[in-house]
């Protein structure tokens, strides 16, 4: 199965993406509207009232995008001097209420971290490739790989040059991203995943420099700084153009459509989703969420076979398997959270434990991008943690532990509370050479909570 690293990089299932022979529908009258350029002028209504209803888009309502097709800079520009009746909303028509308070410089500095292609917003600092390599190895490589090649289906950040016309394009920083500012901005504000906004400015420069190096854009002695930042031109800088659908698509799709005798031959099936078999299924093998059978009107039978709590004991033959074992997909769902998953840990302890466990579950979110838990969990970047408390170290089958942790396991090491405390406080201090890039939980109460939570997870 092709997993996508970060939705929605997509979704390719191999093989079948061949040029289909589906017949395009014939438009009975072709081309009548084709010559009309997409109108640029906003319709009149918006200007009529100072505070019009939010979305009364009148008749042909071209979006600003329509205006941009030819002009490079910006959608806002073309309508600067429209006909009198088509003036866009002007702030001058609105009387301020005097609400809000002035934003302080310190507040703006804290929140406004955006960096733009022309260097606007770039903080003073620098970082070199070698440092970037180290920081990346420590904080990013667990998902993105030591060489930014991407582990499992996490995003590939390097390579892919020349692949954009391939059947499986590899869209990386080097092959696709048009601006270096985007790399700096994103790494600085959103990475590492699950520990955002923990990288210093210099670390961010260093990582950015390393990513340039990984993509063959700079040499290994390169130092990136706010001084030379805007001199870097990304390989795919010219690879983008503004939405041209108003010109290239809308005229084609605006004829009066055919209503009768539109086909020349009977329809033939060319692709069937069932052949791919990638849809989540209910226990009865139907697509997940298939509506229950209500024509079986017997009391209690009109329930979802996939829903254990909805199936009374006197059920018909449609329900038992479902009751016994809900489909794995159910676990991943954001269902309205029925009693079960929550009730279990709570029942094992007093109220204090329950609160601690609940807190631990929250803390565990920092771990969850790499460690899976619960029924059906599989090894990810890190091993499955079911039953970890009290278990021998390096015991999970199929996970490639670091040599040092494997060694500790071979010597009889056990993940008791003390060991977990020490490891979680300082992973690299406790297990020299651990693959876990996580910096650790510095707060004792967080460690207590997460260990309490891990204690509720039954072993494999």
């Amino acid at each position: 199965m092709s997993k996508s690293p970060e939705f929605p990089t997509i979704l390719a299932v191999t093989g079948w993406a061949t040029a289909a022979t589906v017949a395009a529908f014939v438009f009975a009258s072709t081309g009548q509207k084709a010559a009309e350029p997409a109108p640029v002028v906003k319709p009149a209504e918006t200007a009529a009232a100072p505070a019009p209803e939010p979305a009364p888009a009148p008749a042909p309502a071209p979006e600003p995008a329509a205006a941009v097709a030819e002009a490079e800079p910006a959608p806002a520009a073309p309508t600067a001097e429209p006909a009198a009746a088509a003036t866009p909303v002007s702030l001058a028509d609105i009387t301020p209420l005097g609400l809000g308070r002035p934003a302080l410089p310190e507040e703006i500095e804290a929140w406004d971290v955006a960096v733009l292609p022309d260097g606007t917003g770039l903080p003073v600092g620098s970082g070199d490739v070698e440092t970037g390599n180290e920081v990346f190895g420590e904080k990013c490589a667990a998902c993105h790989g030591d060489f930014a090649e991407g582990i499992d289906s996490w995003p590939v950040l390097a390579g892919g040059a020349g692949s954009l016309t391939d059947p499986r394009p590899v869209k990386t920083i080097g092959s696709y991203w048009p601006y270096l500012s985007t790399v700096f901005d994103y790494v600085h504000r959103s990475m590492p995943f699950g520990e955002a906004q923990t990288l210093s400015v210099d670390e961010t420069y260093a990582i950015t420099a390393f990513l340039l190096y990984s993509n063959g854009i700079v040499e290994d002695d390169f130092v990136l700084s706010n001084e030379n930042f805007t001199s870097i031109v990304m390989p795919n800088a010219e690879g983008f153009y503004v939405d041209d659908r108003p010109v290239t698509e809308y005229p084609l799709f605006s004829g009066e459509p055919c209503m009768e005798n539109c086909r020349t031959a009977a329809p033939q099936v060319t692709k069937r989703a069932v052949d791919l078999n990638v849809t989540p299924l209910d226990p009865d093998g139907k697509p997940a969420g298939t509506l229950p059978v209500i024509t079986l009107a017997a009391t209690g039978t009109a329930t979802d076979p996939a829903t254990p709590e909805a199936a009374p004991a006197t059920e018909t033959a449609t329900a038992p398997e479902a009751t016994a074992e809900p489909a794995p997909v159910e676990l991943a769902e954001a269902t309205p959270a029925p009693a079960e998953p929550v009730a279990e840990p709570v029942a094992t302890g007093d109220a204090g434990d329950a609160a601690l466990i609940a807190e631990g579950e929250k803390v565990f979110r920092k771990c969850a991008s790499c460690h899976k838990v619960g029924e059906g969990a599989k090894n990810g970047v890190g091993p499955v943690l079911n039953g970890i408390v009290g278990a021998p170290m390096a015991r999970v089958e199929g996970f490639a532990y670091s040599a040092s942790l494997a060694d500790m396991g071979a010597k009889g090491g056990v993940w008791d509370a003390a060991a977990l405390q020490a490891f979680l406080e300082n992973p690299k201090g406790y297990v020299k050479g651990t693959k876990m890039s996580f910096a650790g939980l510095k707060k004792p109460e967080e460690r207590d909570a997460v260990i309490a939570y891990l204690g509720t997870l039954k072993g494999p």
């Binding site: 060319t270 997940a288 269902t335 991008s369």
Partner: protein, 419 residues
């Protein structure tokens, strides 16, 4: 016992007949009295739940299948992932918040009204900070709008892949929002003459941010705090999200914390490396914000097969356009040879979901059913193949092609493509 239109169901019921369970009377007429009618049922004799049994009610247990669903293999982490609205099980046009699809980039955060702050800065006359309480003092507006992920249908770009409109078209919801217009907030801060764009970003760990041309921002963009009459749910951006009618869902920033005015687009990750449309020549379209007209039949569909046999059949579905109102939806049951305008049921609102119904008598033979939306600009929803001829196979986003369902003689429904 009564006649049962789908006789194969009898086997399932063999064990329950003794327990007093009966079959619903069919049009063919009852031969034995239905115990659901002739016997006093428990619910007709004793109390039901008292008031306050559920101070905030959840759907009854019989509707427990009507939930969002994830497709696990799509993403590595559910903290940065998406799930799908069960549109096959819903009617009307408003999507309940509790089953409206979620898309998070770093998980849904808990941000209280007390801790909420909104900053407006950049090329403005007066950089400002608002509290939630401040927002409540601006004039409120109401708008209904669909929110569709740009990747809705993306998995279907290369061919039929997933069984069910929840998975193929379910990255969409439609809510009635109450909030304040962004222009009214912006008027407090003012905009310097060189300001042409706003940039909006969220308070979560991803701080997902997007650039929006000032003209759109001051037109119909809303800073919303109520949806469907109640506070936004956590997963929809409580306490404040952006509503950008007609434009791709990624721009509807949740947990909105900052609006900044610039003279250029920020070119953030989500508007360069993602949400851009790779074309066959290796170049990519950017700023493809508007969601073009689209429709889908929600029932029958793979998760909503026909179980009543031949005879009267209700075909229903949803249509929408980011360019304005839906003016017509045509339905075909013969693979696109013949098309019939469906009824547009209820109010048709601009940039909001429109419900259509097509009532017919099914003869029990197999059908290829399809719907085709037309909007007020005259745009006609194209086939997937027509889109591919322009955009190739690596486009991913903005797939508004016509969906074909293959209804089999037994009433089961498959996702297919036809030639």
């Amino acid at each position: 016992m009564t006649d049962e239109p789908v006789t194969s169901r009898r086997a399932f019921l063999a064990g329950t007949a003794a327990a007093g369970a009966g079959l619903a009377a069919s049009a063919a007429g009852a031969q034995t009295p239905d115990p659901l009618i002739t016997e006093v049922q428990e619910w007709a004799s004793v109390f039901g739940d008292p008031v306050d049994a559920t101070p905030y009610g959840m759907p009854i247990e019989f509707e427990s299948h009507v939930v969002r669903r994830n497709v696990e293999w799509l993403t590595e982490s559910t903290a940065s992932s998406i799930n799908f609205t069960p549109i096959h099980a819903l009617e009307g046009t408003i999507t309940p918040q509790g089953c409206a699809f979620e898309r998070h980039h770093s998980g849904a955060i808990s941000l209280s009204k007390q801790d909420y702050r909104l900053m407006i800065n950049g090329l403005v006359e007066r950089p400002l900070v608002f509290t939630f309480d401040d927002l409540l003092r601006f004039p409120r507006q109401i708008t209904t709008a669909f929110c569709e992920c740009a990747a809705n249908g993306g998995m279907e770009w290369g061919g039929a892949q997933l069984e069910g409109c929840q998975f193929t078209q379910g990255m969409i919801h439609n809510m009635e929002y109450t909030g304040v217009m962004l222009r009214d907030l912006q008027a407090e801060a003012g905009v310097k003459p060189e300001g042409k764009w706003i940039y909006v970003e969220g308070a979560d760990a991803s701080s997902n941010g997007r650039s929006i041309p000032l003209e759109k921002a001051l037109d119909d963009v809303m800073v919303a705090f109520f949806a469907n009459g109640e506070a936004l749910r956590k997963e929809h951006g409580y306490p404040v999200r952006l509503v950008v009618p007609g434009w791709e869902g990624n721009m509807w920033v949740k947990w909105l914390r900052r609006i900044a005015v610039y003279d250029q687009a920020v070119e953030s990750r989500e508007e360069t490396s993602k949400y851009t449309d790779l074309m066959p020549d290796g170049r990519a379209r950017k700023w493809t914000w508007v969601m073009d007209a689209k429709s889908v039949i929600t029932s029958p569909s793979p998760q909503a097969p026909i179980r009543h046999g031949k005879g009267p059949l209700v075909i229903t579905g949803l249509a929408w356009s980011g360019h304005g109102k839906i003016t017509r939806v045509d339905v075909s049951v013969d693979g696109g040879n013949t098309w019939t305008p469906a009824r547009l049921t209820g109010d048709v609102k601009s940039k909001a979901l429109t419900r259509f119904h097509h009532d017919m008598v099914w003869d029990g033979s197999e059908m290829f059913i399809m719907s085709r939306a037309v909007d007020e600009t005259g745009y006609v929803q194209p086939t997937k193949q027509a889109l591919r001829e322009i955009r190739g196979l690596n486009n991913v986003y903005h797939n508004n092609g016509i969906q074909v369902w293959w209804v089999r003689a037994d009433g089961e429904v498959e996702n297919v493509e036809i030639a």
